[in-house]
């Protein structure tokens, strides 16, 4: 990419060259600009951009009585005075911190990084135009449809140059693009006279793709129309098929805590080699999965991307670590240093100190066959297309949510749409106790990428459903 938007020294380099600090230290920086278009129906109500931000986070590490003290501060002020203020802040908080590792080694940059597909060239070169063209195409896909409209839309894009410099001599950067689509599709009117139905799309990606838009809009319109005639599900223990879009709200947050250095430090991780899932389930973390939001050539500390195995045929084989949590247990970083906060703001990672979490979890295809074959194996049950918010409790592992749209499975075929009611249970449990992971009866053959998960649909037998 040779776009003049970002050329010359990176933001991390601009800060690092002015630091006179005792090692180890690290500067992680991002330069981002964002373009957004908001739609009221197909009318543009707001155009935003550029929303320009550049900032950096400085982390200091110091040994302290056999433990490690860390100090972190982030800022958008690149002046000498601003940097001095950040150093003072980081030094001040460092005096009060204590992490249970004698020392941590920051990566020095030896070895190469994989080439990763994370930047949409069209979006990088002219984001305003790319968004405008996409919105036009999106609006066109709704024209001429009967009783279905786009009631709200937000297309948000960001191009980012991420850079990292540390006191071990590491100096790295990469460019990437981010996309978020939030769309509300409304079905109403028509002879049936029932209340309006909505299907809500909230997806993150790396590219603005128009090629698949036609089939996507067709499916969304169908879900919105089906929501109008949906009925509540039955109450009971049912076979449930969960597609990737639903699993991605459950597996990454649970695995990210329980199967990582963060969970182990708090005694929340299962023992290595314990059985926590069904034999059908294998999970690894692919830090360079093509077009995944969590992919990058290196992690939040500069460790090159890898593919650590987490669960193999139901057995916990390894945990995910950043440098600090790895050092606490005499382990090596698995390249899972992630920087994240409350909001879905993947372009403001400089605000956060690294911790250990998933990049992109991958569930390899299983022997469950196509979606139709999974449904056939379910026999009598539910296909849950969308849950309100699964939001697993990180401590207890409990998850659950309202069915926004799903389908009853009868005699091995999809039947009437369902809506309302709750599907829930425990996502991960101690060895010997039932959980979502142990009840995965079949893993399908067709992999999809959704947020931090690349997986086929899975048949879970049974799950508790609360409905009529």
């Amino acid at each position: 990419m040779s776009d003049p938007w970002r050329s010359g020294p990176t933001a991390a380099e601009r800060v690092a060259e002015r630091l006179r600090l005792e090692p180890p230290w690290e500067v992680f920086a991002e330069e981002a600009d964002r373009y957004e278009v908001y739609l009221n129906g197909t009318r543009v109500e707001l155009v935003r951009g550029p929303i320009a931000i550049e900032g950096y986070g400085l982390r200091l590490l110091r040994p302290s009585s056999g433990k490690l003290a860390t100090g972190f501060q982030a800022s958008t002020n690149f002046s000498d005075a601003g940097i001095a203020e950040v150093i003072a802040d980081a030094e001040a908080v460092l005096r009060h911190s204590e992490f249970p590792a004698a020392k941590a080694e920051l990566p020095s940059g030896g070895g190469g990084s994989p080439s990763v597909q994370i930047s949409d060239p069209k979006l990088w070169e002219d984001p305003a135009r790319a968004v405008e063209e996409y919105v036009t195409e999106l609006s066109n896909r709704f024209s001429g449809r009967t009783n279905v409209v786009l009631s709200f839309g937000a297309i948000r894009t960001t191009r980012v140059r991420t850079s990292l410099v540390n006191s071990s001599g590491l100096r790295r950067s990469y460019e990437h693009t981010l996309v978020s689509r939030e769309l509300a599709i409304k079905a109403s009117g028509g002879p049936e006279g029932s209340p309006a139905g909505e299907y809500w799309v909230d997806e993150g990606a790396r590219r603005l793709e128009t090629g698949s838009l036609g089939s996507e809009v067709d499916a969304w319109c169908r879900y919105a129309a089906d929501a109008r005639r949906a009925v509540a599900p039955p109450t009971g223990e049912l076979a449930v098929v969960l597609p990737t879009t639903v699993l991605s709200g459950i597996l990454p947050p649970v695995v990210g805590l329980r199967c990582s250095g963060v969970g182990r430090l708090r005694n929340l991780s299962p023992a290595i080699d314990s059985t926590i899932g069904s034999e059908n389930l294998t999970i690894f973390d692919d830090q360079a999965y093509p077009w995944a939001q969590g992919s990058a050539p290196f992690d939040g500390e500069g460790t090159s991307a890898g593919r650590p195995t987490v669960i193999e045929r139901g057995v916990l084989r390894g945990l995910l670590y950043d440098s600090l949590h790895a050092a606490a247990f005499g382990q090596r970083s698995t390249g899972n240093a992630t920087r994240a906060g409350l909001a879905p703001r993947e372009w403001l990672r400089f605000l956060h100190t690294p911790s250990s979490d998933v990049s992109t979890l991958v569930v390899p295809p299983g022997s469950g066959g196509s979606d139709e074959e999974l449904i056939e194996q379910a026999g009598d049950g539910l296909w849950v297309q969308q849950l309100g918010w699964a939001r697993p409790d990180p401590i207890s592992g409990a998850f659950g949510g309202e069915i926004r749209i799903g389908y009853r499975i009868r005699h091995g075929k999809l039947a009437e749409p369902v809506r309302g009611g709750i599907v829930g249970g425990v996502a991960i449990a101690p060895q010997g106790a039932p959980s979502l992971l142990t009840r995965i009866a079949a893993v399908g053959a067709r992999t999809e990428l959704s947020e931090s998960l690349a997986s086929p649909a899975c048949l879970v037998r049974p799950l508790t459903v609360a409905g009529n």
Binding site: T76, S151, F152, K186, L342, I395, G420, I422, V423
Partner: protein
């Protein structure tokens, strides 16, 4: 960190330049910082909250709003914002006044406290956190106690081409104490969470007694029964009633959803939706609320709006544009998460006002059902009018008596059916407001308060 006022002259210059080209222009300068303390048995961590500052300019371009923002507040960067907006104006701009009335308020307001949060050094916060952790760990079966204390200072300066100048500085603090009970690989916690706008008095409820109660509840959850499943009588505690008022009902009253024809409540404005005992309020001026503000991000003062008054849906929440569309006044509910986010119609502190039934009377009235306690999250469904609320725990009600503790669960069903099935509203003695964060759709999280009193109705319950 420089004060926002230091940048006012440069920003005002750009605003004047833009106002010459557009019918209306405004700018929000926003900055903030704070301190977070995290303590558990493994680590102490004090982190300084980011020193973020920036400005977002907005113009009415004839048929739509256009915006640009920058974290770089140097004159060159601000001029670049102006150039790009003028270019955007040239592409889509046309004549026509901006919709609605612009604020002309000129005022400066700041959090007032005899003991400001800013005078509380990180050492004091750390000492408080360590003491709270000690209280939690003193209970048997509590293997871990995580404590997080956060104090922040949010400063906003709003200027517009109609002459408004609103400077506000809001101090907020929240603490979370999570005693984690563990047994045979099972873990449970029921955290103590309190937050608000104000000074050091906000830590008044961080007491040994409250932490010990949270620890006992966490331990009890290890042996909680599975929650009941299916449709039944549900008694919502004040935290869950607040979640209902905010997530299930409140989001449908945000009038930007009215203009999109995306609210199940729009056709019901002025209609009876619940019993006469039910009143639901959004109050940006609520004293010391977590969602309290002096002005919204269009320069309108925070105010109290009765959404439901004695069972009747009486008002929606408005920004200047939706107020114009519905021939009413803006309600002080236009909020940006920060200078990087767009403005939406948002809630502030949303709650159910007290009714007339004591908890004992509500339990007796329930006869058989479940109490839902400690709301943890919810999600809106502004068009469909369905609800999803999740709670940490509950108790069964059998033959008019509170019996067994049950584990985490979710509540689902139609909001309108739930409202019409309300059989009782609790008394003032049980009233409380809790602190949380609200996302609108995809994100844009802002601090909001929600709460109220006990509420008895009917809904579907299941494990979650």
């Amino acid at each position: 960190m420089r004060s926002l006022v230091d940048f006012e002259e440069g920003v005002e210059k750009v605003l004047s330049r833009l106002a010459r080209k557009a019918a209306f222009a405004d700018v929000l300068l926003q900055g903030g910082h704070g301190v977070t303390v995290r303590v558990d048995s493994k680590l102490f961590d004090v982190s300084a909250e980011p020193r973020l500052q920036g400005a977002v300019f907005r113009l009415w371009a004839g048929e739509r709003w256009i915006e640009a923002a920058s974290s770089d507040l140097t004159p060159t960067a601000l001029e670049r914002c102006a150039e790009l907006l003028e270019r955007g104006l040239g592409r889509v701009g046309g004549p026509g006044a901006a919709p609605g009335s612009a604020s002309t308020v000129r005022e400066e307001r700041a959090t007032s406290s005899a003991r400001p949060l800013s005078e509380m050094a990180p050492e004091s916060l750390l000492a408080l956190a360590k003491e709270a952790r000690g209280w939690g760990l003193s209970q048997p079966s509590i293997a871990e106690a995580q404590v997080r204390i956060f104090r922040s200072n949010d400063q906003r300066l709003y200027l517009n081409s109609a002459g408004a100048r609103c400077l506000q500085t809001i101090d907020r603090a929240v603490f979370v104490v999570a005693p984690i009970a563990m047994e045979n690989g099972k873990a449970e916690t029921e955290p103590l969470v309190r937050g608000g706008e104000g000074g050091q008095e906000l830590f008044g409820e961080l007491t040994e007694e409250n932490v010990l109660t949270a620890a006992r509840r966490s331990k009890e959850l290890l042996s909680a029964k599975s929650p009941p499943t299916g449709e039944m009588a549900v008694l919502l505690d004040p935290s869950v009633a607040g979640l209902f008022a905010h997530e299930s009902f409140g989001h449908g009253t945000e009038a930007d959803q009215f203009t999109r024809d995306r609210s199940y409540l729009k056709p019901l404005l002025g209609s009876e939706v619940g019993p006469p005992s039910l009143t639901i309020v959004d109050d940006g001026s609520y004293p010391n609320g977590w969602g309290t503000l002096f002005f919204d991000d269009e320069g309108h003062p925070g105010q109290k709006t009765k959404l439901v008054d004695a069972g009747r849906f009486t008002a929606a929440l408005h920004d200047r544009e939706t107020a114009a569309a519905f021939s009413t006044r803006a309600t002080g509910n236009t909020r940006r998460s920060d200078f990087l986010s767009r403005a939406y119609v948002r809630m502030t502190n949303t709650y159910v006002e007290p009714g007339e039934l004591s908890l004992d009377e509500l339990v007796a009235e329930t006869k058989n059902g479940v109490i839902l306690e400690r709301g943890t999250s919810g999600i809106e469904d502004p068009l469909g009018g369905q609800m999803q609320l999740k709670v940490k725990a509950g108790h069964l009600i059998e033959n008019g008596k509170i019996t067994d503790l049950v584990g985490s669960m979710a509540l689902s069903g139609s909001v309108l059916k739930f409202l019409r099935a309300i059989r009782g509203v609790g008394v003032r003695g049980e009233f409380r407001i809790e602190s949380g964060f609200c996302g609108k759709g995809h994100g844009d999280y802002i601090p909001v308060g929600s709460g109220g009193v006990y509420l008895l109705s009917q809904a579907v319950v299941g494990p979650a």
